[in-house]
Symmetry: C2
Subunit: 468 residues, 2 copies
């Protein structure tokens, strides 16, 4: 992690802030020990500045969150909302002298309703906890970011997180029906609904999803659920080139198939996973494609997709025999980022998403960029969505390599935009990509986004320095 | 239609407006004949005021729309965007002296891409035209409002339209990936993306969907598509009571089934359809439920659902033998609103959506309200979504009956809110329900919505008097 500091507030101001916060929070909910507060400074992004928080608060009720925001508004103190800090764009990094507002203690599942197919949750519920709880009712909460065992629903809402499931089931945004939000001034606002449909007024729910804590504090969410699908079955296909694998992806999607995941790992990623976990993946292939179906007859679907892979030039197609074998292949995919991090100690994980018809061009471009900067860049991708994670491996102790890493990272984003894509498919803008947001959305879009921000946060105290 | 007029602009102001508009539009795109412009005054809602437009413009290009908006901003003239005016809330009604901006001539399908599963369209494309065009590529654009043979994609985006498909495929909002929007001052803004995923900045795309033309003019949309599912097969089940039918709906959804439609028609609606079209539907039942599946084995799914209907007390369960029989049943459902309109000459169509677990309570309440006001209220419903259309049948020439119709209509909305529902599942707020919006979203929500409106439309010229 590379940190830089912003101007610190005075001791007097901080003392006043702490007194005011303690007036409405139990003492154990206000953390000021510098060793402890420092541990809340960063999320999991590299190259993102972070300040030292003045205080970390851990409210357990909506009223306590309202108290925190009223206090922050009165004293004009920045507030940085945090979930599990598994984000990859610095969106949850502390700013100097801020109040870190950790929602992790608001972790109750308030309701699971199988008839209405909804769950009502507090923001600190861990994704995996919710997933398992709804499974017990025969229900399914699809969004499954790689960090799903740690990350919180509030954080998922903040970044509109994706995951492996998106190619069939979409991202977090599709599952957020309604929100209770504490505004910057402490007032409580409800958006959306708990019904299947609803169009009363502007869709402020979706405005908050993906807003990275910059518009208000989500304190309660109504989430849509689906019936639990059958266990998925996975197929692995080896390709002699990235472009052949991408061709297979296009044939599968054009053929009308609806895989429950369609993931790609390049040779670097495969080798990294083998090195880390000795999984015996085939290192001789350039591109490994994983496809899965959770349909009534997944074997039939895998056979059809396997044939398309062969037609696109796959050297080998291996359908998993059962759920256990399938789970092993998924584990390999889920380990990709961790494995790539082990290559050189540090990574920068890009998140460029392009129209899937442009996937091959993007991957070829990433290869060129890796060569140009003399770097190892492993690519794993939610190929079915065109959402790639080119992961730059570098030694943070080597200034020149670090510089090249940063430059190659940016060049990949530029390429993504050139191909009609976006700088971020699911990780968010945070600090890491804020200079790139303007390039993607243009000056008019940026002006309107800033104006919307000012409506909800006129004093600019909510997660300042992020997004814009 | 019941109309009232707002203050008219001066002749001089109108003359100036026409001159300025003609400077950037071909002559055939500027309509001023009072008989013609009057025909653009209303959408299909009852009880909604409408003024006489000063002019109707029919631009064919983005630049022409920009010219219209620049002119309107300079002269502070209200602009009312319109599609096919099939709306049911008065959202497209003219205000006195306004520019009616009809997007119906911008009706090109610009792209259909089977690999990326997107279509790029202008706003005036008719829903059915798009549906058929994508079908030819093996693709499917699900949103299917009742007016799908007439209504435009721009209008669908404006109201976030639903339809019969929503229980499985969701509403229009789920399919809008990106927009080009002409702002009130004539500037062009792009939102969203043409990729499967993307989280760069606030989701302004979704903010515009359902905004009823009050934030900007949609001039181009990137729409997500799905592969075409198998032909659906429909089952009809007769129930001795509304509550038994609602119980079946709950059992079906709780059982994890995913019907492609799940519709309810009450006895009044069934009789009205028979009277209009002699379809031979069973008039002796209190509630007719239609369920459909477009799965690989729809007959098996219908058998399972049929058994649940019987367990809930269905007196008869009749699966359609084939696609033709299925289509006939759907036709009956699609004729419902037209048939109910024929009962007394005029209708007010409510659009209350409740959590589906509350559907029985809502229907019982509607019965009570019909009795209290001595009115015929037929109910058809997207039962699987809890989205009901209680349709008040009345004689508009009878002032007392008209008054009772309006009061009963409001009482149904109050009941919907009481049951945790929304005043509008898919028709929008428009003029008809604007007093109710505040009751649903509360004062804080209303304040923030108005502030968002002011960001995009600081002069208040975009579809004034709607929504708020």
């Amino acid at each position: 992690m590379i940190m830089s500091r912003i101007e610190a507030p005075s001791d007097e101001k901080t003392g006043n802030l702490l007194d005011r916060l303690r007036a409405g929070l139990p003492s154990e909910a206000v953390l000021t020990d510098p060793d402890v507060t420092a541990s809340y400074a960063n999320d999991m992004a590299s190259f993102c500045e972070a300040g030292v928080p003045a205080v970390v608060v851990l409210p357990r009720t909506v009223e306590q969150v309202q108290h925190v925001m009223r206090t922050a508004t009165e004293l004009r103190v920045p507030v940085v909302p945090q979930g599990a800090r598994t984000g990859l764009s610095g969106g949850a990094n502390a700013s100097e002298g801020c109040v870190v507002l950790s929602l992790t203690k608001m972790d109750r599942i308030l309701e699971i309703n199988p008839v209405d197919r909804i769950a009502v949750v507090e923001p600190g519920v861990v994704n995996a906890t919710l997933s398992r709880a709804v499974n017990e009712h025969g229900l399914y909460y699809p969004p499954d970011p790689s960090s799903w065992e740690m990350c919180t629903i509030g954080g998922n809402i903040g970044t509109a997180s994706g995951g492996l499931c998106c190619v069939k089931y979409g991202v977090t945004a599709e599952y957020v029906l309604g929100l209770d939000v504490v505004l910057a001034d402490g007032r409580l606002m409800s958006t959306g609904r708990r019904t299947a449909k609803g169009v009363a007024g502007y869709d402020l729910t979706r405005l908050f999803v993906g807003s990275e804590g910059s518009l208000g504090i989500v304190v309660r969410a109504v989430l849509g659920l689906r019936p639990q699908p059958p266990q998925q079955l996975v197929l692995a296909a080896e390709f002699p080139s990235a472009s052949a694998a991408c061709d297979a992806v296009c044939r599968i999607m054009e053929g009308g198939h609806v895989p429950s995941l369609l993931e790609l790992m390049d040779r670097t990623t495969v080798k990294a996973v083998n090195d880390l976990a000795h999984m015996g993946l085939p290192e001789t292939t350039e591109s490994l494609l994983l496809a899965a179906f959770d349909t009534p007859d997944p074997a039939a679907d895998l056979a059809a997709v396997g044939a398309l892979c062969e037609a696109a030039g796959a050297s080998q197609v291996v359908p998993a025999d059962d759920a256990a074998e399938s789970e092993l292949l998924l584990q390999a995919r889920r380990l990709s980022l961790t494995a790539l991090e082990a290559v050189k100690g540090t990574t920068m994980i890009d998140d460029v998403c392009v129209p899937r018809s442009k996937l091959a061009e993007l991957l070829e471009g990433v290869d060129r960029i890796a060569e140009k900067y003399d770097l190892t860049i492993g690519v794993c991708a939610h190929a079915g969505d065109g959402n790639t994670h080119p992961t730059v491996c570098f030694d943070a102790a080597d200034p020149d390599e670090s510089r090249r890493a940063r430059e190659s990272f940016d060049e990949i984003m530029a390429l993504g935009l050139e191909l009609g894509g976006t700088i971020t498919g699911e990780h968010g803008v945070g600090i890491l990509k804020k200079e790139w947001l303007a390039r993607e959305i243009g000056p008019v879009g940026l002006e309107m986004q800033r104006a919307v921000k000012a409506v909800f946060d006129p004093l600019g105290i909510l997660n300042p320095g992020k997004l814009f």
